[in-house]
Amino acid sequence: MRAALRILSAGPGVTTQDRGRNGYLRFGASEAGPMDRLAHRLANRAVGSPMDSPALEVSNGGVEVAVEGAPASVALSGGAFNIALDGRPLPPACVVTLEPGMRLSVRAGATGSWCYVAPAGQIEVAPMLGSISTHTRTALGGIGGRPLMAGDVLPLSGARSGLGGPFEIVSPTLQRYDGGIRVILGPQDDFFAPDQIDAFLHGPWVVSGRSDRMAYQLEGPKLTHCKGFNIVSDGIAMGAIQVPGVGQPVVLMADRQPTGGYPKIATVIGVDLGRLAQMRPGDTLHFEKVSVAQAVEARRQEARLLTEPVVLTPLVRTELSSEFLLGLNLVDGVTAAEHPHS
């Protein structure tokens, strides 16, 4: 019997995402695609799939999945989610092999907003406009363009289960830059006086609760325009930061409209889009101005790290209870590295 992923339960915001749509922005169709492209790619790489293969994107609403028909390995990567296989906790970036009857649960954890579940094998749903990426506002991608629900079954072709596991994913890409969110000014930074550009960069900005796959709204100092706030609509790149009349920035994300009519003060650089996406309502941030050359260099570095082999570390110890470990006196050896004797 052919393998399939079954959704046992799903909060809001569980969707299928691949690279995103390409070539239809000119017809008004949004790109969609993963909110955190790096995490999406790492999950796919960890199970040996092409980087931009279809995967599940899970929001903090969480999901529970099982396989049917045949076993399949899956990789998880993204924010610090609470992952558990049949109740057994696993690290946020891991590879497990699901046997039919097992239950994998993905729940909101300490930090982060998006987690990717990439199966070893191809999720078979019909592409719409060349992509399976779900854009719920225009009902494109996934299953009927809607979020996934309990009872949905996603067929897997070429499912592989030979990876075994569970493993923790070890990758240099999991260590991200921890400074401000880096931006390139423009394309309409000339709608803002220098002191407003400074105020924009300095913030601090709080991620608003009115944030979703389309846009992250920010709250902070009120920005003023020097040339009004209406422009004749032009194109919108992912990460474009619009400042409408109320003076509070809106960062346009994966599900953004392809064009729009507010001045865009700056654009978040590619490698920081995923970092921003993983922030939660209430988190604070500031921006750092960089050049196109710096942004390209950061991108090059990330692309290089992503080509390095993904190391999978067997998770043997998590099968042992802490009492057992204490009994063996192994804990001293583990903690010694973190707390050197003074």
Binding site: R26, A29, I184, P187, V232, T259, G260, R299
Partner: protein, 241 residues
């Protein structure tokens, strides 16, 4: 106008805006469309897609494959040569029903313009519109060329979601919608046409830069055409340009 060099504006490290102007102007839009056609024909490796708008062309690119300077150099080489006419444009006849049940704001538009409802429809169907751009949602068309008499301001506050495939008017534009969504424009009619359909091989049949005209149909014809369009047929006709 045609001699003014474009501005190059970065929209991050993966998109470049080639801006020909800041206003809605057919001449500016001509330059955008000519560059779009010529640039697309270069088939440069690393160029992901281009998005023509009223006044600018956004070029999405992969900076690890083609750098910003190479994108600009390609645009400048095209701008240095005289604009050859871009791909031939089509003219479309789009059915539209102006019966009251499909045109809830027609009476109000007539009041605002101090014209009869018949005259509003006559003017709206008499004009030849240019497809300036798509935006907002798949198949949502921005049309320019609205007769002066029909230039009315938009609603002060948006109305709740309208039906699918309605034709809107306001702010000097007329628009064909696809999805149901809230709007700040006035509902002047409803088309049986699907400007976007997944049931057809050509999901979008009207190109940016094409022209179109509305052909009035009665409610019975609307119903017939609507059923055919729903089944995946293009019910508009291509006319000689």
């Amino acid at each position: 106008m045609a001699d003014i060099a474009p501005r190059y504006l970065d929209a991050g490290e993966t998109a470049l805006v080639v801006e020909f102007g800041t206003t809605v102007d057919p001449q500016i839009n001509d330059r955008v469309l000519a560059l779009d056609a010529a640039f697309t024909a270069l088939k440069l490796e690393g160029v992901r897609e281009t998005v023509p708008t009223y006044r600018s062309l956004m070029i999405h690119y992969d900076p690890l494959v083609i750098d910003r300077a190479a994108v600009i150099a390609a645009v400048e080489s095209l701008e240095a040569t005289p604009v050859t006419s871009s791909a031939p444009k089509s003219h479309w006849l789009i059915p539209c029903c102006y019966a009251h049940e499909y045109a809830e704001d027609l009476t109000h538009i007539a009041e605002m313009t101090k014209l009869s409802e018949e005259r509003v429809v006559e003017l709206h169907t008499g004009a030849r519109y240019r497809v300036y751009m798509y935006g907002f949602a798949p198949g949502f068309c921005y049309l320019g060329g609205v007769p002066k008499e029909l230039i009315v301001s938009r609603r002060e506050t948006p109305r709740p979601p309208h039906p699918t495939n309605v034709v809107l008017l306001g702010g000097g534009l007329t628009l064909i919608t696809t999805f149901s969504m809230p709007t700040g424009w006035w509902l002047i009619g409803r088309s049986p046409e699907r400007m976007f359909s997944l049931k057809r091989e050509n999901n979008f049949f009207v190109g940016v830069g094409d022209t179109l005209q509305f052909v009035p149909v009665d409610a019975a014809t609307f119903a017939t055409l609507d059923a055919r369009a729903e089944a995946g047929e293009v019910v508009s006709r291509k006319a000689a340009t």
